[in-house]
């Protein structure tokens, strides 16, 4: 048989649990099983890839057939692929305090119900809660003799509440996800807090759009770190020329107080013990004191672009690895939260996030806050709703003039190339000058 220049196989044998509660009723409590592998080969030019379901039952002979198929696919490619050398290895998966898989479905339903019921307060017309648990064994091997296996369990919940008074409808939401074990106990206050937010938004005024100074809370500033900085530093985008950070290595691209990091080794939701190419994950400082310091890479983009670290290849089960973030955050500064608000003087405090999107080639981002407060004479005043923030990445990085010392991390999922992977974003409070705020007031 013709043999590939390189191959790797990443096999995930997993199961998942999902519980959904809607207005106090358990709508579903389901479990699923999957067994999928992705085989990649290189021969002369680009990647030949086969995604294989029910991989566990395949014989050696069948796997050799898949390698042949992948080689045939590879011959349709034209791009020359070089793989940079990088340190292979695996980290220990942090221990769980309480393994969710050992807790009965019945007990998990009961715990989720406590959180969901806590949201059923006055003016709330709908409550909903979801629990997801995904666990599995990941096995990686490549033609260079690297072979790793680990087991990980990710779990978490979300709770949301809809409030209505007259014609006004508003919603509030809380969620938490972790790799450190079951996080459903004693969380009723999260249900209550989602509901109270929805109710208080009924009295909030629509924000008035325009250009103003803004304070971003830890969650929204974390989304900024992820969307605006993180994506633009991904080596595949730099390689294809669709990042505004291309060609800017070593240049000052932001205020000197700004350091932005992606660190897959932290025991946060975006943790991975080994990347999808068998590389040992390491902390990468994307921006250091305002200067562009490193791109995030896989082995191919490191060889093609340089200036950064491999070890950032990630994939959803059954999908092709791409360059992704893990735990991305802005480092603490030395101002206090009170100083940041006082320094803003007149502007707006943006809190929470309803998600965002970026066009890294154009260098433009957009995201929505869940709510906010006007800042008048250095103090918080009225609550406002339905606000968004958009801007140009490079301009915004210079306009961040203060970082507080109160960094917090928020877990979630990031979508790219049709794949969702678990990530954490984080930041301290930031003061952003001349922010473009969208609102309907």
């Amino acid at each position: 048989m013709e043999s590939p220049d390189y191959y790797d196989i990443r096999h995930v044998n997993g199961s998942s649990v999902h519980i959904e509660i809607d207005n106090g009723r358990i709508e579903s409590a389901s479990g699923s099983f999957s067994d999928t592998a992705v085989l990649r080969v290189l021969k002369k030019s680009g990647w030949g890839i086969v995604s294989i379901e029910n991989y566990g039952s395949k014989s050696k002979k069948e796997i050799n057939e898949y390698i042949k198929t992948a080689l045939r696919y590879a011959s349709a490619t034209a791009e020359k692929v070089e793989l940079a050398e990088a340190k292979s290895g695996i980290l220990k998966v942090p221990a769980m305090k309480e393994d969710p898989r050992e807790i009965s479905l019945e007990e998990k339903c009961g715990l989720l119900m406590e959180i969901e019921r806590a949201a059923a307060i006055k003016d709330i017309i709908n409550t909903r809660a979801n629990y997801t648990e995904g666990s599995g064994t990941v096995h990686f091997e490549d033609s260079s003799g690297n072979e790793y296996e680990y087991e990980i369990c990710r779990s978490g919940y979300s709770v949301s509440a809809v409030a209505k008074r007259g014609d006004i409808i508003q919603a509030g939401r809380e969620s938490e996800h972790t790799i450190l074990g079951l996080n459903l106990r004693h969380k009723a206050e999260k249900g209550r807090s989602a509901a109270e937010r929805a109710v208080s938004l009924l009295d909030a005024k629509p924000a008035k759009g325009g250009i103003m100074d803004a304070v971003l809370d830890q969650e929204l500033a974390g989304v900024f770190a992820h969307e605006a900085v993180g994506h633009a530093s991904e080596g595949d985008l730099v390689k294809e020329g669709v990042s505004v950070l291309k060609g800017k290595m070593g240049e000052r691209i932001g205020n000197g107080i700004l350091t932005v990091v992606d660190d897959p080794t932290l025991p946060e939701f975006g943790f991975m013990p080994v990347d999808c190419e068998g590389i040992l994950p390491a902390r990468t400082e994307i921006i250091k004191n305002g200067v562009l310091n490193s791109y995030l890479h896989n082995r191919q983009t490191l060889a093609a672009v340089g200036d950064g670290d491999a070890g950032h290849a990630r994939a959803q089960t059954g999908e092709v690895p791409v360059v992704r973030m893990s735990n991305t955050f802005i480092e603490n500064g030395d101002s206090s939260y009170d100083e940041v608000i006082a320094e803003c003087r007149n502007g707006i405090l943006l809190k929470g996030s309803r998600g965002g999107q970026v066009d890294p080639g154009r260098g433009v981002f957009q995201f929505n806050a869940e709510y906010g407060y006007l800042i008048e004479n250095g103090e918080l005043s009225g609550m406002v709703r339905d606000l968004s923030l958009s801007g140009e990445i490079l301009k915004t990085l210079h306009d961040i003039v203060l970082c507080a010392d109160d960094r917090r991390m928020n877990p979630g999922y990031c979508g790219k190339s049709g794949q969702n992977v678990p990530v954490t974003d984080g930041s301290p409070h930031l003061l952003l000058k001349n922010a473009v705020i969208g609102g309907m007031g």
Binding site: D22, N23, R25, I26, E27, S28, S30, G31, S32, F33, S34, D35, G46, G48, V50, S51, E53, N54, G56, S57, T69, R72, A76, T77, A78, E79, L105, E106, C109, I125, N126, V162, K164, I169, Q170, A171, G209, E240, G241, V242, V320, R354, G355, Q357, D359, G361, R362, V364, F365, Q366, F367, N368, D386, L387, S388, S390, V436, G438, G439, M440
Partner: protein
């Protein structure tokens, strides 16, 4: 071991009838109404890295979802391992014991579809030949040649798949369909462009248009000017309209969201909520997503959600229909075999009084960035426009560098200026250009 042999046989092209029968019989014996949703297929996808093919990826799909119901308690599970069919059935049964009881009038019974057949299979796609996929990419690249933009990426794909829904009431429907698609990403300086096309039939796919327009978009949008914050007439492209409909309007038509009070349209059945010019319906018999039966075996039908501005219907699956004393509208959909069926649309069409909406000058949005951040309950949104420009007498001129659009999608559809004669067919929706007056645009 027996199950393994069956599994391998199916993975090698069997229609699944043997394993489906086995699960239905086992479920029936335990006293459960049982349903199997079974998906097999294959596909090939070529990815452009710059203007060279960098990845060629083949995939085979074998997956099934099992749903069981007893005494109004519903349980679901799924797997892609034929050998785990018993675990899958047992997991669905275990889940059903914890779910709350609801009104349930039985799974779908065998019935005739509203039309006799669908045209969704192209034999030219069925073998997912890599040379055919490569030719699509080459056609797209040659149309992009010399257009001035750099090609950053793109793709060409072919797929074929069969979905089967079968239950213990005797339903067993299969549909085999094909699909093909292309996309291209371009850049000129810091101006980006993106276009795509997809179809069930090779002859209907237009890779040349995608290559040409993706390049023209990036080149045209270069050196965009500023726009002052203010109120403007705005024309949204079919893609922009589709993005906002998907984020807010389609979820608000779900019977479940309506009855759970998570929809703006709750309590508004029979009311004129939208502009009288506007109608919105689901036509499940056309397009790539066409189907004769929904994901739980109920015959599909045309649903007139909005007729001349009046809300006339909401979408229901069996579960929501039984719970609230309604009838299923054949609106159960599944994204693959995992999870439970949910309420969705098959091929949403926005229609109404068509006219020339391009005569007078307006801001034009090719697409929008961040539609998913819209408030799904109230319809309030604030998004960044992509490849925005002015449009005068139907011609795009003077690109706008950056602009944010704020508004409420329900208010906008209540005060619509006009619906274009032209529509774009997305495969799961047929959507025209829409014109609005006095929308809030925030410049830099």
């Amino acid at each position: 071991m027996m199950a393994d042999a069956i599994g391998n046989k199916i993975a090698n092209g069997d229609d699944g009838s043997e394993i489906i029968d086995r699960i239905l019989n086992a479920g029936r014996k335990l006293g459960y109404e049982t349903e199997v949703y079974f998906v097999t297929g294959k596909g090939i996808n070529l990815e452009l890295k710059g203007k060279l093919i960098g990845e060629a990826c083949g995939s085979e799909t074998w997956a099934m979802g099992v749903r069981v119901i007893k005494d109004g308690r519903i349980g679901c599970s799924s797997t892609n391992s034929p050998s785990r069919w018993e675990d899958c059935l047992n997991s669905a049964i275990a889940g059903s014991k914890f779910s709350d009881m609801q009104e349930w009038g039985g799974m779908a019974k065998p019935s005739k579809p509203a039309v006799s057949s669908l045209n969704v299979f192209d034999k030219n796609i069925a073998d997912c030949d890599i040379a055919t996929a490569k030719e699509l990419i080459e056609r797209m690249l040659s149309a992009a040649e010399g257009k001035g933009a750099e090609i950053a990426g793109g793709s060409g794909s072919l797929s074929v798949g069969t979905t089967t829904v079968a239950n213990t009431e005797g339903v067993c429907y299969s549909l085999e369909k094909t699909g093909c698609g292309v996309s291209m990403e371009t850049i000129d300086g810091t101006s980006t462009g993106y276009e795509f096309d997809s179809s069930g039939f090779l002859k209907d796919l237009d890779p040349e248009r995608v290559g040409r327009e993706a390049c023209e978009m990036a080149v045209f949008s270069k050196n965009g000017g500023d726009i002052a914050t203010g109120k403007y007439d705005v024309i949204l492209s079919p893609l922009s309209v589709c993005q906002l409909l998907s984020a807010v309007v389609i979820p608000s038509l779900s019977g479940r969201n309506v009855h759970s009070k998570r929809s703006y349209l709750e309590g508004k059945l029979g009311e004129c909520v939208f502009d009288e010019k506007l109608s919105l319906y689901d036509n499940p018999f056309e397009g790539e997503s066409a189907r004769l039966y929904d994901a739980e075996g109920v015959p599909t039908k045309r649903i007139d959600f909005v007729k001349d501005g009046v809300v006339e219907a909401f979408a229901y699956d069996l579960r929501t229909a039984y719970r609230y004393g309604e009838k299923s509208t054949g609106s159960a959909v599944r994204a693959g075999a995992g999870g439970a069926p949910v309420i969705g649309t098959h091929n949403i069409c926005l229609d109404g009084k068509r006219e020339n909406i391009f005569d007078e000058k307006a801001v034009f949005a090719t697409g929008i960035v961040g539609a998913h951040t819209a408030n799904g309950v109230t319809g309030d949104f604030s998004v960044e426009l992509s490849n925005a420009s002015w449009m005068n007498a139907g011609v795009k001129e003077n690109p706008i560098k950056s602009a944010m659009l704020s508004g409420n999608i329900f208010d906008m559809l209540k005060n619509l200026s006009g619906i274009s004669k032209e529509s774009r067919d997305f495969g799961s929706g047929v959507i025209p250009y829409l014109r609005f007056s006095e929308l809030s645009v925030i410049g830099r």
